[in-house]
Each structure stands twice: as structure tokens, then as C-alpha cells.
């Protein structure tokens, strides 16, 4: 990896509080590349929040070095460093005596932007985070928790910082809103390409959001630092395995797209086929049903027993409950296999043209791989 690709580099960073024997974070080294979304995850006391807060020096490290885009973070005044780093915390911390517009415009105003430019930027951002412009004149106490955190994200993005630090940002909202916020933030991040460091205690959130996950143990010990799929397939040790919890295979399937598995043509025949041809296809695939194609569309499926004395064209096919596109996850495919009568997942392209099928075997190969 070329040196210039590292956006944040922690070098032997240690935080030792006076009067405690063990450091909160001891000798932690970590490289985060430009544009990466790194989730820091671990049990309470693992120093994940301390680590995050040392990056913008809300907590000053006891020793070690932190480089941001090659520049020593300790070499400049803390407030100047922080103006170039977006910061979102769980408690949100909007300024209650300031309007939403003033909250969002905090950093631009510190940087001395002109009022018209700040207004333009706040207008733009409030829409980016999915809120109405009317909200700008309101006060934080007039907004719901989910709306407030959207404002929190907008405030952090205001001066377009290259780095975003997020400390359990979606931890205080209810699970449904959290799901929405996670999804929206992922989409936003894909557009903006920020380097994100994201602390969470929720391994599922870490898996869902991170391009890489750093799993920390008590005292800031880095147990594993890798992509979600790699960590799920090859946990480095017992600690990581325990922390990942049950359903590791399912979690991994949730990350893999259908396109990563072998899509086969499956037991299908054109609706003009004779009963004999259809039976031959079923025999070949050792199944008692057959998919009915009309050109490049899959109409549905027909049971073997329905073909007694009738050609395919004479039987009304039963539609498949679900058709998935290739970018859907294998977990969705598995769901479709176990809930559908035909024990298969139908894959179509964006226009709805038939692409093939996945059966249980093809999916489980991906789990055990």
C-alpha cells in the first residue's frame, strides 16, 4: 500500500489515566486508508471511544503519534485540527439555544465563511441529510431524536472535512429509525467518499457499515483488523469468535451478493415444450417441478403431477413469490430457498429477464468456503 493512501495513522498510541494500573488504550497502531469506513468495535472498556477521541484530541494521548493525511495531529492547536474533522456523538449535542441553521453553520462560521456562502451550504446540507428546509429556523428541542441526529450529521459535514469521526451516532434512536439512518448514511458515504471512523458496540452495525472492522479487546488491544467477510470467515482467535456471536454464517451471507455464487440455469423449459421434454428436464435435475419460460421471462413453475396428459402450454404456472437481482444478498436468497415451495431462489436482471437460479447447495458452498 502506498504511503499516501493512509489518511489516519495511529502509531503506538497510548492513553494512561493517572491512578490506574492498566492503560485505557495501550500501544495501539492502526492505519486507516483514504475513503475507508472503519468501524471500531469491542466490549465496554476496550477503549474504542477513547481511541476515536484521541484522533481529534478531545482526549489527549499519553504517548504515541497520530498522523492525519501525513500531518502530525499534535503539531497544531487542537481547535484548528478539529475544524477539519467532522465529529458526531451519540448524545448529538446540538446547541439548544441556536437554530438548526446556526447549528449546521457552526464550523463554516468559525472558518470565517461569508454569510451567503454559509446559508447556501446549510440549505444544501439539510436536504442531503433528508430534512426539509423549513427545519432550518427551528430549535433542536422542536425536532425528534432521529431528526436531531440528521442535523448532527449535517453539522459535521458542513465544512466538507475529509475525515468523519462518529461515536455510536445511531445508538440513541429506536431500532427502526436506526436502520433508516444506517442505510441513508451508507448511501451518503458512497457519494461523499469521506474517511469514516465509526465506534459501535453492536457487531451487526459494525458488519453492516464498515469496509473494515477493528475488533478491540480490553485496554485497546487490536485483536483483528480486516474486512467484514474476512473476519466472519476467519476469526483470528477465540475472542473474536465469541464477540461475533452466533449465526456467523448467516451474517456472512448477508454481506455477499448473489453474483458471488454459482448461478445455474436450473430446471426450466419454454412454455411451448411438450410434457416429455419437461419430464426429461425434471429428471435431469432430480426435481418434481419445472420453471416455465416465456422467451426471457420466467412465468412461474408447474408441478410434475400437473403434466399428466397435458403439455406445458396447457397448464397455468404458479408464480414464484420472490425474484431477486444479482446484487441482493445471499442471505435473501437463502430466505427465498427455505420459504418457497420450489426450494430455489430465482435471479433476474434489472429489467426482469431471467438469469438463473440458486439452490441450497450453491448457497451453503459460500458459507463453508
Amino acid at each position: 500500500m502506498a504511503e499516501t493512501d493512509v489518511m489516519i495513522r495511529l502509531q503506538s498510541v497510548t492513553k494512561q489515566y493517572a491512578g490506574t494500573e492498566l492503560p485505557a488504550v495501550g500501544d495501539l497502531s492502526l492505519d486507516i486508508e483514504r475513503g475507508e469506513f472503519v468501524t471500531l468495535v469491542g466490549p465496554s472498556g476496550c477503549g474504542k471511544t477513547t481511541t476515536l477521541k484521541m484522533i481529534n484530541r478531545i482526549i489527549e494521548p499519553t504517548s504515541g503519534k497520530i498522523l492525519i493525511d501525513g500531518v502530525d495531529a499534535l503539531s497544531m492547536p487542537a481547535h484548528e485540527l478539529r475544524r477539519s474533522i467532522g465529529y458526531v456523538i451519540q448524545q448529538i449535542g446540538l446547541f439548544p439555544h441556536r437554530t438548526i441553521a446556526q447549528n449546521v453553520g457552526t464550523v463554516p462560521s468559525l472558518l470565517g465563511w461569508e454569510d451567503s456562502r454559509i446559508a447556501e451550504r446549510t440549505d444544501e446540507l439539510i436536504e442531503v441529510v433528508g430534512l426539509e428546509r423549513e427545519m432550518l429556523d427551528r430549535y433542536p428541542s422542536e425536532l425528534s431524536g432521529g431528526q436531531q441526529q440528521r442535523v448532527g450529521v449535517a453539522r459535521a459535514l458542513a465544512a466538507d472535512p475529509p475525515v468523519l469521526l462518529m461515536d455510536e451516532p445511531f445508538g440513541a434512536v429506536d431500532p427502526i429509525v436506526r436502520g433508516h439512518l444506517q442505510q441513508e448514511f451508507l448511501e451518503l458515504q458512497r457519494k461523499l467518499g469521506k474517511t469514516v471512523v465509526f465506534v459501535t458496540h453492536d457487531i451487526d452495525e459494525a458488519i453492516r457499515l464498515g469496509t473494515r472492522i477493528a475488533i478491540l479487546n480490553i485496554g485497546g488491544v487490536l485483536e483483528q483488523y480486516d474486512t467484514p467477510t474476512e473476519i466472519l470467515s476467519n476469526p483470528a482467535n477465540q475472542f473474536v469468535e465469541d464477540f461475533l456471536g452466533g449465526e456467523r454464517g448467516l451474517k456472512r451471507l448477508g454481506l455477499l451478493p448473489i453474483s458471488s455464487a454459482d448461478i445455474v440455469r436450473g430446471p426450466v423449459a419454454d412454455r411451448t415444450s411438450t410434457a416429455e421434454d419437461a419430464r426429461a428436464v425434471m429428471a435431469e435435475h432430480e426435481v418434481d417441478w419445472i420453471g416455465v419460460l416465456d422467451g426471457d421471462r420466467l412465468l412461474g413453475w408447474v408441478e410434475a403431477s400437473a403434466l399428466d396428459g397435458a403439455d406445458l402450454s396447457e397448464v397455468e404456472p404458479r408464480p414464484f413469490a420472490v425474484s431477486l437481482t444479482a446484487d441482493a444478498s445471499l442471505r435473501e436468497a437463502l430466505d427465498s430457498v427455505v420459504t418457497g415451495h420450489a426450494r430455489t431462489a430465482v435471479v433476474v436482471d434489472r429489467e426482469g429477464k431471467y438469469r438463473g437460479m440458486l439452490d441450497l447447495e450453491a448457497i451453503s458452498e459460500e458459507i463453508t468456503e
Binding site: H79, R83, Q91, V107, Y139
Partner: protein
């Protein structure tokens, strides 16, 4: 003649309202010494209270000290200040001893309320502000102080109302103020005059109380007034 008739007599007496010792003179004396004592009290303790509240350092110890000071009666401070000032030839008939006693009375509520106001700001709000890149003094001036304003004004209100009620002590050292009606009334056994003085001080204190609650509302940032 009962006390009400005596009061009415005193009010109807033209000399109550005119001349060098009129009600207006006494009112003015009373007000200026009260306002001055409160302002000086604020100036003396406000910066330290801001600093201690902002840094969260030593504020408990400081508050304890100030509260001990609170336990010393104004009357006692007045007496000591008077005796010292007499040595410098500035005791009898001057406002200085009473001013000292009133400053000591005004300072503690301003001090403790300012610290409490700043410390009542949600730590998450302060952390977010720091995280955005506000300097320490910007956090204090733009975040902590505006949000502490209602409590700060509350402290100033308590101080001012107490000072107004206590400024009557000025008459004890042969100075003016509305307390003169009470002291002089006792001296000449004029109950109407005593009652007049008591009512005047009481009404003034109430007026101060009401006036300040209006100011308090005005300085409460809008975002903090919005119903949750």
C-alpha cells in the same frame, strides 16, 4: 390616634415629599447604594465564577467558602466596616460601611448561580462544541454563558432584592436611604413614619423582583424557552 391615621398623617405632610430630606432623596439614596453594591458584587465574583464553572475546577471549595461568608450577618459586617472606616474618618454619615456590607451580601448568590448555570450545560453540548473546533473562550462565550444566562440572572435578582431589603441598615450609621424612616420613626415614636418606611422598602423589593423576572425572561435564549 392609631397607626393607620399616623401613616396617613405622615403621607399628607408636605415635608415628606419636599426639601433636602424628602422621600425622593431617600429613595434615590436607597437605590443607588443598592445598584452600586450589586454591580460591584457582580464585577468582583463574575470572572472567577466563569472561570471555575468553565474549568470545573475548585468550584466546590469556592462555593463552600462563599457560603460560609453568607452565614455572616450583614449587620455584623456593617458594624465591623463602620468601626474600621471611623478610624479613617469616613464612618458616620457616609454610605461606605453599608456599601461594604451590601457587596458582601450581593456576591454569594451571583457567584454560586453563575457556577451552577455553567455547570448545568449538558457536557455533550460542550463536547460537541469542542469537537467542532471552538476554542475554550468561544465555548464559554457562545455556548456556556448564553445557556447559563437564566440562572445567572436569577442569582443577580436574588442578590438585588436582598440588597434592597437590607439597604435599610444605612440609617444605622447615620446615613440615608429608606431605612431612615424606620430609625427616625423609632427615635420620635412616630409609628406612622416607621410603617411608611417599611412599606416603601417592601414595595421597592417587590418591584425589583417583578422587574427582574421580566429581564430574566428576556435573556433566556429562545431555543431554551420552546416547550419540549
Amino acid at each position: 390616634m392609631n397607626v393607620l391615621e399616623q401613616l396617613i398623617d405622615f403621607i399628607m405632610d408636605p415635608s415628606t415629599w419636599t426639601g433636602p430630606a424628602s422621600f425622593w432623596t431617600r429613595l434615590f439614596e436607597h437605590l443607588w447604594v443598592s445598584v452600586a453594591a450589586t454591580l460591584i458584587g457582580i464585577v468582583l465574583v463574575f470572572p472567577l465564577a466563569l472561570y471555575l464553572g468553565h474549568t470545573k475546577r475548585g468550584s466546590q471549595a469556592a462555593t463552600a467558602v462563599v457560603n460560609v461568608g453568607r452565614a455572616v450577618p450583614s449587620f455584623g459586617i456593617l458594624a465591623v466596616a463602620f468601626l474600621i472606616l471611623v478610624e479613617f474618618g469616613a464612618g458616620v454619615g457616609t454610605p461606605w460601611a453599608v456599601l461594604v456590607a451590601l457587596i458582601a451580601l450581593a456576591a454569594p448568590p451571583v457567584f454560586t448561580n453563575t457556577i451552577a448555570g455553567i455547570q448545568s450545560v449538558d457536557p455533550a453540548t460542550v463536547e460537541a462544541a469542542r469537537g467542532m473546533g471552538l476554542t475554550g473562550s468561544q465555548v464559554l462565550a457562545r455556548i456556556e454563558l448564553p445557556m447559563a444566562m437564566p440562572l445567572v440572572m436569577e442569582g443577580i435578582r436574588i442578590a438585588f432584592v436582598q440588597v434592597i431589603a437590607t439597604a435599610t441598615l444605612g440609617a444605622l450609621v447615620a446615613w440615608g436611604g429608606l431605612g431612615r424612616y424606620i430609625i427616625d420613626g423609632f427615635a420620635v415614636r412616630d409609628n406612622g413614619q416607621i410603617l411608611f418606611g417599611a412599606l416603601a422598602v417592601g414595595l421597592l423589593a417587590i418591584a425589583a423582583e417583578v422587574g427582574f423576572s421580566l429581564i430574566q425572561r428576556a435573556v433566556t435564549p429562545r431555543g431554551l424557552r420552546v416547550a419540549r
